[in-house]
């Protein structure tokens, strides 16, 4: 008995949380997938099997196409802008500047705001009758236009700007930590060889930051798929439905349109999208260890 306990103590300790994960994570994923094959409206019902009809319907819903495309558009732009500018800011702060902690704090502070507050702030700033546009007009530049928020073609940039403002601090901090971890001798060696600083960054330092890049991409990708509160606070999906994201679509179908079947189908498609991105990454990870 005692030997059994000694040998299996870790399994026993882990089993409650494993059971919880099995039920509340995988169990409900399976439940959602099951609901997506039914014609459930306000309440989940399993006596109304319709096969893959909800998926057919989903991909014939113009609004879903907007939401799904937006996820990649918003995600791509957000990753690109946040990583590149976050890295540049980190490098600038890394130049042993004066009042470093002051500048670091400025970049870090927006992170303390929730997405809801971020959304409201940028909604006001970008509103063409209240915000930056009015201010610039009052300075005398009356031809200035900033209609990102009210133009369906550019509203995604408004989301990117707000999300960047909020997420930049974290990215900067991670890169800065990475940069500080670079061996001083590399810089000394480069200085002896007379290599200009930008080349050291591009060809030596940045490739050495590869693990940091991976962390940043994973963290930001998760926040992209989860992005819901930002859209609700900033645009509420508007103008029209042009800034919809899959999470907003899913919420709307489940709770406003009381169409659980369709909502579950969109949730499953979202999960599949995430898996399509994560599985190659996990595969590479496990291969490396093996």
């Amino acid at each position: 008995m005692r030997r059994f306990l000694q040998r299996h103590v870790s399994q026993i300790a882990l089993s409650p949380s494993l059971a919880l994960i099995a039920i509340f994570l995988y169990g409900f994923i399976a439940y959602t997938a099951a609901v997506s094959t039914t014609n459930s409206k306000a309440f989940p019902r399993f006596d109304n099997f319709v096969g893959l009809e909800q998926y057919w319907r989903l991909f014939h819903t113009p609004r879903w196409h907007v939401a799904f495309t937006n996820m990649f558009l918003f995600g791509g732009l957000f990753l690109l802008v946040t990583i590149s500018l976050g890295l540049v800011i980190a490098i600038l702060i890394d130049q042993r500047i004066r009042a470093e902690s002051f500048f670091r704090s400025i970049v870090m502070y927006p992170m303390a705001m929730s997405f809801v507050v971020t959304g409201i702030i940028w909604q006001w700033l970008l509103n063409p009758t209240l915000g930056i546009e009015v201010m610039v007009h009052q300075l005398g530049f009356t031809s200035f236009r900033l209609d990102w928020l009210t133009n369906p073609d550019t509203v995604i940039w408004a989301l990117v700007v707000a999300a960047f403002w909020q997420g930049c601090g974290l990215v900067m901090a991670l890169f800065l930590a990475g940069l500080r971890g670079i061996d001083e001798d590399i810089w000394k060696a480069a200085a002896v060889d007379g290599i200009p600083a930008w080349r050291v960054y591009v060809f030596i330092v940045i490739p050495m930051l590869a693990p940091v890049f991976l962390t940043v991409v994973v963290l930001l990708s998760l926040s992209i798929v989860r992005a819901f509160d930002l859209v609700v606070a900033l645009t509420n999906g508007g103008p029209g439905v042009s800034s919809d994201l899959p999470s907003v679509f899913m919420f709307d179908m489940a709770f406003r349109r009381t169409n659980l079947g369709l909502s579950a189908a969109s949730a499953v498609v979202m999960l599949c999208t995430v898996l399509a991105i994560l599985i190659p990454y996990l595969y590479a990870e496990t291969r490396e260890r093996a």
């Binding site: 113009p62 907007v66 009210t150 103008p239 029209g240 439905v241």
Partner: protein, 408 residues
């Protein structure tokens, strides 16, 4: 002093015990009336209800969606509230079909005579009342800032053609013609009034209730889209995604001439010391359309089994339909009473117009409460997409008809 109070107290206790019916119960009610005017109106109902000897257990949840979600979750979990705020029509039937509602026919003997037919029909499941209607709000109201209209020198328009024709004059004086909050739930009021304008009540029925494919691709629909496309030029650049109360402020402060919004907007007028019907002109729009699109506030009775709770439900239904409660409630809420026999004195000019429309049988239940939510939702999505795009009316009409067809 103390003894006097003691005597008074015991007298009151005596009075209470003698008037309390045998089955005094407690009604736990989920609702979303949390703001100033709403809370004042609710107080009327609660006080009248407690006079029947029953106890009101208040369970307010801010926001209609959140409140309905709480109620639905409680029902799913097998612990329903005694009653909850719920709209009549399809949302109510969905609950009734699941066997989640009690009938209250014992308290509703003469309701068929008291209520407009459309409300009576939609408050019943299999011929039995399952909900008690508290108040009505009209949606397709055109509001006009009288000072602005006077300055421009125009009267309230009767049709969409007149409204659009007046836009240039309004703009020439430096005002915004139409204050519109560019969120789909606000825009649909505009679109519905245009549908009434081009094809009357029948056409509105075919499009929003039946989601009829032929109607969605008809010449009338094209005309509706042509008119709707002109709305793009009636509004200011700040319109997209703007909240309704901020938009209402533009009308009240005289920045904009018109606004189309439900009659809850009157609450904002009163808060700004403007008299509805005088400082802010009102009109069911289009005038002569014989259609007032409306939504209800009603209390659905859940399928509780306990006899005391059943009695509490019946007492609640009776209290809600009491003529005095109906009148006093609506006066504070800015709505109109569903009961047709409530006298009009004390109501503002706009509410009196609405009560006249209700008596004439012009009520038209909001499509959200009639039509399949996914179908009407697809229509709304395409409506708002069109308004915020450069699509031609032809493209907009086809896109809407196709999107609605895909939900069948």
């Amino acid at each position: 002093m103390l003894t006097k109070l003691g005597v008074l107290g015991s007298a009151m206790a005596f009075a209470l015990t003698t008037t309390t019916p045998v089955f005094a119960g407690t009604a736990e009610v989920i609702h979303w009336w949390t703001t100033g005017g709403e809370a004042a109106a609710l107080k009327i109902l609660v006080e009248a209800y407690e006079k029947t000897g029953n106890t009101w257990k208040d369970n307010p949840v801010a926001g209609g969606e959140a409140a309905r979600m709480v109620a639905r979750t409680r029902i799913l979990g097998g612990d329903p509230p005694t009653s909850m705020q719920w709209q009549v029509g399809a949302p109510l039937m969905a609950l009734a079909e699941e066997g989640q509602l009690n009938d209250i026919d014992a308290a509703a003997k003469d309701w068929d005579k008291l209520l407009p037919k459309v409300i009576a029909d939609n408050a019943k499941f299999e011929g039995k009342y399952v909900t008690a209607p508290m108040s009505i709000h009209g949606h397709n109201w055109l509001w006009g800032n009288q000072a602005v209209l006077d300055d421009v020198g125009i009267a309230m328009p009767k049709t969409w053609d007149e409204l659009i024709a007046s836009a240039d004059k309004i703009r020439a004086k430096g005002y915004i013609p139409l204050a519109l909050g560019g969120q789909s739930w606000q825009e649909i009021f505009v679109f519905e009034s245009i549908l009434i304008d081009v094809g009357g009540r029948d056409f509105l029925t075919k499009v929003t209730y039946d989601l009829d494919d032929a109607a969605l691709r008809s010449p009338e629909m094209l005309k509706a889209f042509q008119t709707f496309a002109k709305v793009r030029d009636l509004v200011d650049p700040g319109s997209p995604s703007r909240d309704w109360n901020i938009t209402g402020g533009m009308l009240i402060s005289g920045k904009a001439a018109y606004m189309i919004m439900g009659d809850w907007l009157k609450g904002e007028f009163v808060a700004a010391n403007k008299v509805p019907g005088k400082d802010i002109a009102c009109e069911v729009f289009p005038a002569g359309g014989k259609t007032l699109v409306f939504g209800t506030d009603a209390f659905a009775m859940t399928a509780v089994k306990d006899p005391a709770a059943r009695e509490a439900q019946l007492a609640l239904a009776t209290t809600i339909m009491d003529p005095v409660v109906q009148k006093e409630f609506s006066l504070r809420k800015g709505s109109i009473p569903p009961r047709l026999d409530v006298d009009k004195t004390g109501f503002d000019a706009c509410a009196q117009i609405a009560m006249g429309e209700a008596a004439e049988g012009h009520l038209f239940l909001v499509p959200d409460n009639v039509t399949d939510a996914t179908g009407i939702g697809a229509l709304v999505d395409q409506m708002t997409t069109f308004l915020h795009s450069n699509m031609t009316p032809e493209e907009g009409m086809t896109a809407m008809a196709d999107a609605v067809a895909a939900t069948r």
